[in-house]
């Protein structure tokens, strides 16, 4: 396998892993686990669940690496696996009547800059979290995959099995909802705290 300094691409790493190089998985993990974890953490608001799903996702990848077709789509494949495993977990939690915890406050980004700017950004974060918690999971996951993780609508469509138009509409709706929350917040009707919510209690769209 080439040295890490040459930045082997994901496809080459999967190939190396298939050939038995134990370092390949670690490099793939270092490269993508953080983003997957953040996405899953936003979905579940539970560190333990998010870590479990990250580990399970990479295990699936490890088990099924022989089926990977390449074409530079490792990240998309990993998020597809992670999303499906998270959906399974959410179904189980709903069946058991478990509710989504509040988003862990120590993980709220602390934007830099002058104090007023920081307050403003905190208000926006609160509005995003409140809006996503109010929306069905499908809206929130589409918003996160598109806006926070930067996947294209085509990639998200393949992950979730939904037409691009539907996804586009979800992102628009989520963004408008964030804006509405922000408007109500600045008019003093909600607090500036991120609220978490009980997203799991709601079923689909």
């Amino acid at each position: 396998m080439p040295e890490e300094t040459t930045r082997p691409d994901d496809d080459a790493l999967v190939e190396s892993s298939r050939e038995g190089d134990p370092r390949a998985l670690a490099i793939l993990y270092e490269r993508h686990a953080g983003a997957l974890f953040r996405y899953l953490l936003h979905r579940s608001s539970d560190r333990v669940i998010a870590e479990d799903v990250v580990q399970e996702s990479f295990l699936r990848i490890l088990e099924r690496r022989g089926r990977y077709e390449g074409k530079g789509r490792f990240r998309s494949w990993l998020f597809t696996v992670g999303t499906r495993l998270a959906q399974d977990r959410e179904r189980t939690r709903r069946r058991r009547g478990e509710i989504r915890d509040a988003f862990p406050h120590d993980l709220i980004p602390r934007p830099e800059g002058d104090p007023l700017e920081r307050v403003r950004r905190h208000e926006i974060l609160a509005a995003i979290d409140a809006a996503l918690a109010d929306l069905p999971v499908t809206y929130a996951e589409t918003f996160q995959l598109r806006i926070c993780e930067g996947f294209s609508y085509r990639e998200i469509g393949e992950m979730l099995g939904e037409p691009e138009g539907t996804l586009r509409s979800r992102v628009h709706h989520a963004l408008r909802r964030v804006r509405a929350h922000l408007a109500s917040e600045t008019s003093g009707t909600t607090s500036g705290q991120r609220t978490g919510g009980v997203r799991d209690a709601r079923e689909g769209e």
Partner: protein, 176 residues
């Protein structure tokens, strides 16, 4: 005259989803409409903040350690849920088992649950039991425990078997 821009078009504009003609129309309208320009800037601010990455929001080292151990041993690591369940169950089962084994009362079990070093992988059942009991007693943050084998079901089954065997050996169940 001001051009009218619908909310859907506005959102499409900030998300860069409009064709060039429509985007140019929104830009033109915003140049003549301060409120619209402010709305565009609000939406862009939201998008900027949404893309911020929380500092330190990374999975714990234990996740990678578990994966690498699983890769090497070709066994599946325990999930966090099973580890937590194990940690929750073992103080009770472990205390009971130790009480039966040593023939001591529950009040004397404090010493047996003293903190012990945490093994990271491949812990044998008996060690795992003691380690987890000790860890639970001193409230180790979740995430520090991650074993690769044996499987939790086997542990639970093994624990029950050991417990009943001890109970029948000592005949001490009633004393508890």
């Amino acid at each position: 005259m001001r051009e009218k821009v619908s909310d859907a078009t506005l959102v499409g504009f900030v998300l860069d989803e409009l064709d060039e003609t429509s985007a140019a129309r929104v830009r033109r309208a915003a140049a003549n409409d301060e409120r619209l320009a402010r709305e565009i800037s609000r939406y862009r601010e939201i998008l900027d903040v949404a893309r911020l990455e929380p500092p330190g929001a990374d999975p714990s080292e234990a996740v990678l350690s578990g994966l690498l151990a699983a890769q090497a041993s070709r066994s599946r690591p325990w999930t966090r849920r099973w580890t937590d369940l194990f940690v929750r169950l073992t103080p009770v089962a472990g205390t009971l088992a130790l009480a039966l084994f040593f023939g001591t009362g529950l009040s004397q079990m404090g010493d047996a649950l003293e903190p012990q070093p945490i093994a990271s992988t491949g812990t044998a059942p008996s060690d795992a039991l003691l380690v987890a009991s000790g860890a639970a007693a001193r409230r180790v943050p979740r995430g520090e425990l991650r074993h690769t084998s044996p499987l939790p079901d086997e542990i639970v089954a093994w624990d029950s078997l050991r417990l009943s065997a001890m109970a029948s050996d000592t005949g001490a169940t009633d004393s508890l």
